[in-house]
Symmetry: C2
Subunit: 661 residues, 2 copies
C-alpha cells in the first residue's frame, strides 16, 4: 500500500463501511453485491484480455464469448432477480455495453409487455434459450427522439395475411440499434402501420433477420455494422434496410393494438401503456450518471493523493496534488455531485416502483409528473456528469489521457446517455412543457400537487425578478433548508420568466408554436433550475435518514458544498432575482473554500465508500493500493506496438528513405 | 448539392471569398494555401485508407509511410518556408499528429537554437536526411509541467569525458514524448546535470537510442510505446529508461551553458534564452484552438442545415434543425468564438514575431508580458474549445458519436492541448502571478504599459465590488466598445479581489505561499476574466481593419454575440461588481436571441468561409454538398465488421450455446 493513501485512510473521520451500506441500501445489499462481484471476478471463464489492447473485432468477439458464458452461469447459479442480474452483468462486462444488451434489456421485456399469449409461446422460450437473439430496431438514420417521424412502413396485405415491411428511403434505414449488425437474428421493428389505406402510427413487429441455422441474412434484409464510434467498441450497433420483407400478421405485437385478418385496425385501450418502460430507463440513467461520476472521482481523487508535484512552500517536498486548492475545487464539488446523483437515482427508482404499482392497476394520474421529472433529471444529470468526467480526466494531467487510467473509456461509454433514450435538449423542453402547464394552472388558481407545488407558493409570494435592494435578506447560506428555499424560488422565477417570454411572443402575433420556439432558451433554463432544485432538495432530504453522526456530518458538508457551488456558478440568477445579496454571494465563495479544506481530510475515504472493485474499475491511476507508477510501466509494456522491438514500418519506409535523400 | 444547403448559400448577405481572405491574411495567402492543399490532396502517393477502419499498428504504419513520402516531396518541390511546410504537413496528415512531429518540430529546431557549430556538423545534416531521427524527451512519468522536478540525471565523468545518463527511479522514466516509442533513434534528453558534485539543473543531451543500422535499442536503453491513449493513434508516444548510458561530453548542447573537459560548469549568459520556443508554441496553440473549433462548427452547422427533425408548426414539413432556437444557441456562440480565437491567434503570432525580433537583439523586456499572455490565452482558448467541440458533437444527435462525423477524432486530437505545453490551471496561475504583480505595481503608483495598463486606470477609478444601485448605468449593451470597457473593469475587479484574498490570508498569518494557494480559485478566476477581456478587445479591434461592408456587418454581429454571451454566462460577476444592472442583463438575453435569428441567415456561409477542404475535414456530416445520408450508408458498409456477413463469434460461441441451454 502506498504510504500516502494509507495516511489518507487513517485520517478519515467516519466509518467508510457504514456509508457504503447507505449507498447500497443496507448491509445485506452490500454483502450480496460483493458476493456476486467476487463470484464473477474470480471466475476463470470470465478472464479477459485487456480490451485496450484489442482490435474492435477482437473486442466484439471477446464480449460475445463472455455474454454467452454469462447466460450459462446465470442459469447455473439460478440468478433471476433483475437487480442481481444487472449486478452480475455489470461485473462480467465492467460497466461496458455488450452485444446482448438489447436482447436482454429490450427484446425480452417487450415480449413480456406486449406479446399475446400465442406470441409468448412462439417467441419467448426460443428467445430465452438464445435460439432467437433479438434487438429493438426503432431509431432510423433520419429520426431518433422524434418517433412520429420514423419512416419504416409495415403494410398489411389481407390477401396473404402478411405485413410487408419496407425501408422506403435512405433515411428510413434502421440505424444504431445495439446487437443489430452481427449478433441478432430477429428484431422487434418499429414501423408505421398501414392497413386499409390508413396509417395508424408506430407499431412493433417481430421480424426475422437471419437464417436460424447459418446466420446468413435473409433475402431482402440488408444488414450490417454501422462502423466505429466514440467508444461502444464491444457492440455491433447496426443498420437494417428492409426490402419487401413479408412477415405473418401474427408477428405484430398485439397484446394491445390489433390488426384483424381482414385488415381492420383495433386501437389499444390506452396510448400510455408503452410509456412506462421509457420512464423507467430514463430514471435508471440518473443512477448510471452517479455511478460513472463516482468512478471518475475515485480515480482522480486516489491519484491526486499519491501524485506529488511542484511546490507550495519552497524547500519542502513536493505536495500531494490534492493539497492544491484548485485541484480540490475541481474534484470535491464533483464528488458531492456524485453523492447527490446517487441519492436522486435511489429516489427515482423508488418513485418509479411506487407509481408503476398504480399504473398496473390502470391509474396513470402520476405518470405525467414522473415523466417530466425523469426527462429533465436524465438530461440534467447526464450533462453534468458528462462534463464532470472530463474534469476528472484532465485533473490527472497527462496520464488521464492514457487508456490505462480508464478515464477515456468511462467518458466514451457514458457520453451517449446525453443523446440516447431522448436527446437532452428535447428532454429539457419536455420538462419545461410540464412546468409551464403547471405554472398556468397555478396562476389560474388551481392547487398543484407533487414536486411542482412550489409554483403555487410562488404565485402566492408574487415572486418576480426585482433588484437586490427590494428583497429582504433572510437566507442563511450555511443552512441547507434555507438554500433549498432559494433554489426553489429561483426555479419558480425562471419558470415564470419563460412563461412570460412565451406570452410576449404571442403578443407580437407569433403563433403558439413560434412563441414556444422563440422562448426555448428560457424554457431550458427553467427546466435546468427546476432539476437543480430537485437535486438539492433530495440530497438535503436524504440527510434526515442518516443516523450515524460521522457519516451525517461528512455528507452534510458535501450537500452544502454542492448547494453553494451551484449558487456561485449561477450567481447571476440569484442576484438578478434578488434572492441573494452581493455579500451573500461573496460569503458563499469563502464558505466553499472552507468546505474544500474540511473535506480534504475525508476525500479518499469518501471515494472508498463507493466501493468500486479494482478489477471492475480497471484503472492504473485509481488502484486502491495507490501503487500507480510501477503498474503504469507494467501496463505500457503490454502495448501491442511493443510486441516487436522494431516496427516493420522502419524497414518498409524509414530505412529506404535514407537512400533517397 | 443538397437543396437545403444550396438555399442557405444563396441567402448569405456577404461575400464568402472576401472573408476567407481575411482569415488567411490576404488573397495571395489563400491562393497559395489552396495550391498546397490541391498538391497534396490530389497526390496518389498520399492516398490513405480511412484510419477509422484501421488498427492502431496499421494507423501508425500508414502515418510513417506518409511522413516518409512527405519528406521526399517537400525536397522535390523545394518547399522550405516554415508556414508552407506547416500547411503541407497539415494536408498530408489532416490536422493529425504524426510520428515525425517531434523530429521536425522540436529536434531540428533545438539543434538550430542550442547546438554549437561542431554539433551542427555532426548532427544536423544526418537529422535533415532522416538518418538520425530524433525526439525531445522531457516529460517523465512523475513530472510534466513542473520542470524542476524532473529526475533524470546526467553525471559528468571527467575520467572518460562522458556523461552518464540514468533514470534513477520509476517515476523518472521518460514518458509521453511523441515518436519516442518506435520511430526515433536519437533523443534530446533533458536531464539534471551533475558535475564536480554539484547539480546545475536541467540541460539537454543528444542521446543515441537505437542502432543506426538495425534500429534495435542500444544496450541500457529500455524503450517502447506507452500504449493506447485517447486518440493520437498515429503517434508512438514512448517511454525511455536509461541505465548507465554513456555519451561523450560533446553531446551536451553547449551553445550557451558548457561543461569543460575537466568538469567545470559554465553558466549560460541568460536563463531566458530557451524561453522563446515555449512562448511561441503556446501562441500557436491559440490558433489551433480556432482551427479545431472552426472544423467542429463547420460540421455541426452544415449538418444542422440539412437535418430535418420534429416540428415547430403542426402539419408543416419537419424544419431544418438549425431553425430551433436551442440549436442556434448551442452553435452560433461557438461560431463567434471560433472567429474570435482566430483573430486572437493572428494577433499572438504577429506579436510573437515582433517581440522575437527584440529578443534576438538581446532585449527581453517585453517577454514577461508575452509569456503571461500566451500562458493564459493558451489555457482560456483550449478549455473553451475543448468543451465547444463536444457541444458541436452532441448537437449532431446520434450521428455525432459515429466516427464518420469526424467529431470524435477532432475532440481526441484536440483535448491534449489542455494539458501539454503547460497544464491549463498552472498556466492560468502563471498569468495570475503577472496580473497580481502588475496590480501591486499599479497600486504603488507605477505606470504600467501594455495590455495590463488597465490596472492603472482601475486604480484611478477606484473600481471595487459594490452593490448595483451605487454604480451609474452608462453601459450600452449594443455597443462593442462599451462592452470592452465592462470586460476590462470586470477583469480589474477580479484581479483586485484575488490580490485582496492573498492579503487577507497573509493577515491570518499564513505564509506567502499558503496565502497564494488559498487564493488560487480567485486567481484562476481573475486570469480567466483577463483573458476574456483580451479576446473581446482583440475581436473588436479587428473589426476596424475590415473595409468590406457586408463582411464587417456580419463579423460585428458575431463579435457582439460573443461579448453578450459572455455577459449572460458570467452575469453574476457583472452584477456583483455593479458593472451592469439587472435590466441590462435581461436585455442582453433578449439581444442574444435577436442576434441568433439574424445570424441564422449567414450561418452556413460563415462556416464556408473557413474553407475547410472536404478531404481534410473527412466528415460525412460536414460535407460541402450536404449529401449526408447516402454517404453515411456508404461509409458504414466499409466497416471492418462487415467484411463477412457472419462474424466468427457466431460459430464459436452463440451456436454452441443453444445446445447447452
Amino acid at each position: 500500500m502506498n504510504p500516502d493513501i494509507l495516511k489518507e485512510r487513517k485520517n478519515a473521520t467516519f466509518d467508510v463501511e457504514k456509508l457504503t451500506y447507505i449507498l447500497d441500501g443496507g448491509p445485506e445489499k452490500t454483502k450480496r453485491r460483493r458476493e456476486i462481484e467476487s463470484m464473477v471476478l474470480s471466475d476463470p471463464d470470465f478472464k479477459e484480455e485487456n480490451p485496450c489492447f484489442l482490435s474492435r473485432s477482437e473486442r466484439y468477439d471477446q464480449a460475445v464469448r463472455k455474454s454467452a458464458q454469462m447466460i450459462l452461469k446465470l442459469r447455473e447459479y439460478g440468478i433471476a432477480d433483475p437487480e442481481e442480474i444487472y449486478c452480475y452483468k455489470n461485473c462480467v462486462h465492467p460497466d461496458r455495453p455488450e452485444p446482448l444488451d438489447l436482447h436482454l434489456g429490450m427484446f425480452l421485456p417487450t415480449l413480456l409487455n406486449q406479446a399475446t399469449p400465442e406470441q409468448m409461446d412462439r417467441f419467448f422460450m426460443p428467445a430465452w434459450n438464445l435460439e432467437i437473439i433479438g434487438t429493438y430496431a426503432q431509431t432510423e438514420m433520419g429520426h431518433g427522439t422524434h418517433l412520429r417521424g420514423l419512416e419504416t412502413t409495415a403494410t398489411y396485405d389481407p390477401a396473404t395475411q402478411d405485413f410487408v415491411l419496407n425501408s422506403p428511403t435512405i433515411s428510413s434505414i434502421k440505424w444504431w440499434p445495439g446487437g443489430l449488425g452481427k449478433t441478432s437474428n430477429h428484431a422487434i421493428v418499429l414501423a408505421q402501420l398501414y392497413t386499409q389505406g390508413n396509417c395508424h402510427g408506430l407499431h412493433a413487429f417481430i421480424t426475422p433477420l437471419r437464417d436460424m441455422k447459418t446466420h446468413e441474412p435473409l433475402p431482402g434484409v440488408v444488414i450490417g455494422d454501422i462502423g466505429p464510434k466514440f467508444g461502444f467498441n464491444e457492440v455491433d450497433n447496426g443498420y437494417l434496410k428492409l426490402e419487401n420483407i413479408r412477415i405473418p400478421r401474427e408477428n405484430m405485437l398485439m397484446k394491445y393494438a390489433k390488426v384483424e385478418p381482414d385488415g381492420t385496425y383495433v386501437k389499444p385501450p390506452s396510448a400510455k401503456l408503452t410509456y412506462g418502460t421509457m420512464v423507467f430507463i430514463r430514471s435508471m440513467i440518473v443512477g448510471e450518471s452517479a455511478r460513472a461520476l463516482s468512478k471518475a472521482c475515485t480515480i482522480a481523487i486516489r491519484y491526486s493523493s499519491v501524485r506529488h508535484q511542484s511546490e507550495i512552500r519552497p524547500g519542502e517536498p513536493e505536495p500531494q496534488i490534492l493539497d492544491y486548492q484548485t485541484q480540490q475545487y475541481k474534484l470535491f464539488p464533483l464528488l458531492a455531485m456524485a453523492y447527490a446523483f446517487h441519492f436522486v437515482g435511489q429516489y427515482m427508482k423508488e418513485t418509479y416502483l411506487r407509481i408503476s404499482g398504480d399504473i398496473n392497476e390502470g391509474d396513470f394520474s402520476k405518470l405525467p409528473e414522473l415523466h417530466a421529472l425523469s426527462a429533465g433529471l436524465k438530461a440534467f444529470t447526464t450533462w453534468e456528469t458528462n462534463s464532470g468526467i472530463e474534469v476528472c480526466r484532465m485533473s490527472c494531467g497527462g496520464h488521464g489521457y492514457s487508456c490505462s487510467s480508464a478515464l477515456p473509456d468511462i467518458y466514451v461509454q457514458f457520453t451517449p446517455t446525453c443523446t440516447y433514450e431522448g436527446e437532452n435538449t428535447v428532454m429539457m423542453l419536455q420538462t419545461a412543457r410540464y412546468l409551464v402547464k403547471s405554472y398556468r394552472q397555478a396562476k389560474a388558481g388551481q392547487q398543484l400537487s407533487g414536486i411542482v407545488s412550489y409554483l403555487n407558493e410562488a404565485q402566492h409570494q408574487r415572486v418576480q425578478p426585482q433588484p437586490v435592494a427590494a428583497r429582504p435578506t433572510v437566507v442563511d447560506i450555511n443552512d441547507l433548508a434555507s438554500l433549498v428555499e432559494v433554489y426553489k424560488l429561483r426555479a419558480a422565477i425562471l419558470v415564470e420568466l419563460a412563461a412570460k417570454s412565451i406570452q410576449q411572443e404571442l403578443q407580437r402575433r407569433k403563433s403558439q408554436e413560434d412563441a414556444w420556439n422563440n422562448s426555448a432558451i428560457d424554457l431550458v433554463r427553467a427546466s435546468d433550475a427546476h432539476c437543480h432544485y430537485v437535486v438539492v432538495k433530495l440530497f438535503t432530504d436524504k440527510l434526515r435518514d442518516i443516523g450515524d453522526t460521522g457519516v451525517h456530518s461528512v455528507l452534510s458538508s458535501l450537500a452544502l458544498l454542492y448547494a453553494l457551488q451551484g449558487v456561485t456558478r449561477n450567481s447571476g440568477d440569484f442576484l438578478q432575482a434578488g434572492l441573494l445579496s452581493v455579500p451573500q454571494v461573496l460569503q458563499s465563495s469563502v464558505r466553499i473554500k472552507e468546505l474544500l479544506s474540511q473535506l480534504r481530510l475525508n476525500a479518499v475515504a469518501l471515494v472508498d465508500a463507493f466501493d468500486h472493485n479494482d478489477k471492475k474499475l480497471n484503472s492504473v491511476l485509481g488502484r486502491y493500493d495507490g501503487n500507480v507508477y510501477e503498474n503504469l510501466f507494467e501496463w505500457a509494456r503490454n502495448s501491442p506496438l511493443n510486441a516487436t522491438e522494431v516496427h516493420e514500418s522502419f524497414h518498409k519506409y524509414l530505412k529506404p528513405l535514407r537512400a533517397k535523400l
